[in-house]
Amino acid sequence: MPAAPTLIQAESVFREYRLGETVIRAVDDVSLTVEKGEFLALLGSSGSGKSTLLSMMAGLDRPTSGAIRVRNRNLAELEPDELARYRRETVGMVFQSFNLLPRMTLEENVELPLRLAEVDRHDRESRVAEALARVRLGARTRHRPSELSGGEQQRGALARALVNRPAILFADEPTGNLDSVNGEQILLLLREFQDSLGMTIIMVTHERPLAQKFANRIALLSDGRLVSDGAQR
């Protein structure tokens, strides 16, 4: 079986923050590759640098030094507008705290990336319906986030993340605010996207059992450094 092509390549990535006179190194010389269609779990304790690394790979942040190449384009060298386009077209994101806009209905939240991508109005409705059907929320389209349970909100966030049909889905502690049942449902959905849509999934978590159960590969970070990187299944 031929090896899957490399989709993301992080090369000696550093990320430092300055707090007054103190320099905090959140990511310290991390190098790793992610192959297309892989489900990678970035595992680590709080403050290990896993979310910072994920933000840089998602194009939300830039490394202080080093390179993050996605399809051979170094994100660190992209102009702000190109980086925004990368986030819009290549990337989908889910967060621990769902981050649905409270004043919008579920379908409006899911439609938001399509508005930003200037997708034609006629196509939006079907794409929103399709995304919501995938996460089994077809009946809750007119509800606002406050009217949904945590699990439903996170599924709504998943629908929003995949509505633009991204190649990579970044999930930052997607089960952090959910009970174990709902957490497993979310991860099952992620696996389903990986399998049926061929999506590459990179998930940050501090829950080793979940990572072991659902991810293909676990990269362990500690104090900003990559301490282990190994396949699971």
Partner: protein, 455 residues
């Protein structure tokens, strides 16, 4: 992001914090209203003054005299002016010729004479003026006791109140009464009659074809009105007359005029000439062109056009100051917009982070805040114009009540032309966008990671 999507999101955001955004929009509206009210007052007063001056007949009239006589004001001829045309009499032919010039609406003679007026046994000498029928709409007779002449040939008179007081203690009581004019009528004599005249041929010369006779006459006129102002200023010359008749009635009296002597000496007494003619034009802007055409015909002219230019300058400065004061309120309102949008950034940090995470560019975020500021300006502008109109109407209403209590006609002192309404809305949007500049730039600069971390 497409403009329509941007607008929808902006309106949705404005609806969410409805109280705060409404108050900010109200602040803009009050600012625009003060600007509109101030400027509408300036425009209204300017319009009022222009209308009054135009209707007075001073600024849309050219006063024409013959170059033969030396009466009346006449500007000095410029040094490089063309050689003078042959001097022509200002007679009926000239009147007809002038009335055919383009942009001329009316040509009428100044019939003004000093005469004896008799009423209830009193006899007073005063000056009489014939008024053209167009003076009915001049506005000079608004608020007059009684009524304007019933027809252009009515045997009626209007008295100036100072003169009316001489005739009666209660001037309004004169309305409906009759007075008698005693005047000198001019009549042309035939050549034969001329020979029978008082003057021997040796004195008037054998070449004289005829002569004129001056006959004392009386005319009874019904007093139909008493007026406080002097309507003769402008319409018939430069004021100073006390009794007014319809122009056609005055013409039919054939009152002897000073020019009759000149006509007599010129050898054509049967064809009387006028002292002066007033040529009315369509609008003050036609005055220069008509004046030039009349000069080409060989007559002397005079107009007061330059005075309107000065008036326009005064009102432009007046409007400028009113506009500046009005703009102060809008400036304060723009601080409200800045405050509201800066607060919105703090409240919506996380939302900005989410938008950026979903692929919004800095420009999208900036445009969104810009659109919100612009929408507040747009709504504030519309409400402000409406509010300004209400304030202007209230001022007009109050002024009218005050003037009516003073027995004066009401006037419209506030006027909002279309350009002021549109300009105020555009100005409100521009000021709001300017106020949104800083908050929008600040929102666009937000780091998405930090914004997403914000609780």
């Amino acid at each position: 992001m497409k403009t329509r999507d941007l607008s929808e999101l902006a309106v949705r955001n404005l609806r969410e914090a409805v109280l705060r955004n409404s108050l900010t929009t109200l602040g803009v509206a009050v600012g625009v209203a003060s600007l509109v009210a101030m400027l509408s007052l300036g425009v209204g007063l300017q319009t009022l003054a222009s209308q009054r001056l135009t209707r007075s007949g001073l600024f849309d009239a050219v006063f024409v005299t013959s170059q033969r006589n030396f009466r009346g004001p006449r500007p000095p001829a410029p040094a490089d002016s063309a050689p003078k045309k042959e001097s022509r009499p200002l007679d009926e032919d000239a009147r007809q010729q002038l009335s055919k010039l383009s942009n001329v609406t009316e040509v009428y003679p100044q019939i003004r004479f000093v005469t004896e007026v008799r009423y209830a046994g009193k006899s007073e000498t005063t000056s009489v003026l014939g008024l053209p029928d167009s003076s009915r709409s001049s506005g000079a007779f608004e608020g007059m006791t009684g009524a304007y002449f019933s027809s252009p040939t009515a045997e009626e008179a209007i008295l100036q109140i100072e003169f009316a007081r001489v005739l009666a203690d209660q001037p309004p009581s004169l309305v409906g009464k009759d007075l008698t004019l005693r005047y000198a009528e001019r009549a042309a004599l035939s050549k034969d009659n001329g020979r029978d005249s008082f003057f021997p041929e040796s004195m008037i010369g054998s070449a004289t074809p005829g002569g004129i006779s001056i006959v004392p006459r009386e005319k009874t006129l019904r007093i139909v009105g008493v007026i406080e102002s002097d309507p003769s200023a402008g319409i018939g010359g430069f004021g100073g007359t006390r009794v007014y008749l319809p122009l056609k009635t005055a013409e039919q009296l054939h009152v002897a005029q000073p020019d009759d002597l000149q006509a007599f000496l010129s050898g054509n007494p049967a064809k009387p000439s006028y002292m002066a003619l007033t040529v009315r034009v369509h609008s003050p802007k036609d005055v220069l062109q008509v004046e030039a055409a009349i000069k080409q015909l060989g007559f002397a002219t005079f107009s007061l056009l330059d005075a309107t230019k000065g008036l326009r300058l005064v009102f432009t400065v007046f409007d400028l100051f009113l506009g500046l004061f009005g703009s102060l309120a809008l400036t304060v309102a723009s601080l409200g917009i800045i405050n509201t949008l800066v607060m919105a950034i703090l409240e919506r940090r996380r939302e900005i982070g989410i938008l950026k995470a979903l692929g919004a560019t800095d420009r999208d975020v900036r445009s969104l805040f810009f659109a919100e500021a612009g929408a507040m300006g747009l709504f504030g502008g519309f409400f402000g114009v409406a509010l300004g109109w209400l304030i202007g109407s209230a001022l007009t209403w109050g002024t009218t009540i005050y003037l009516r209590r003073q027995n004066l006609p009401g006037v419209k002192i506030s006027y909002i032309p279309w350009w002021l309404a549109v300009g105020a809305i555009v100005f409100a949007i521009a000021v709001s966008l300017l106020a949104g500049l800083y908050p929008a730039a600040r929102a666009a600069r937000l780091n998405p990671v930090e914004a997403l971390r914000y609780e």
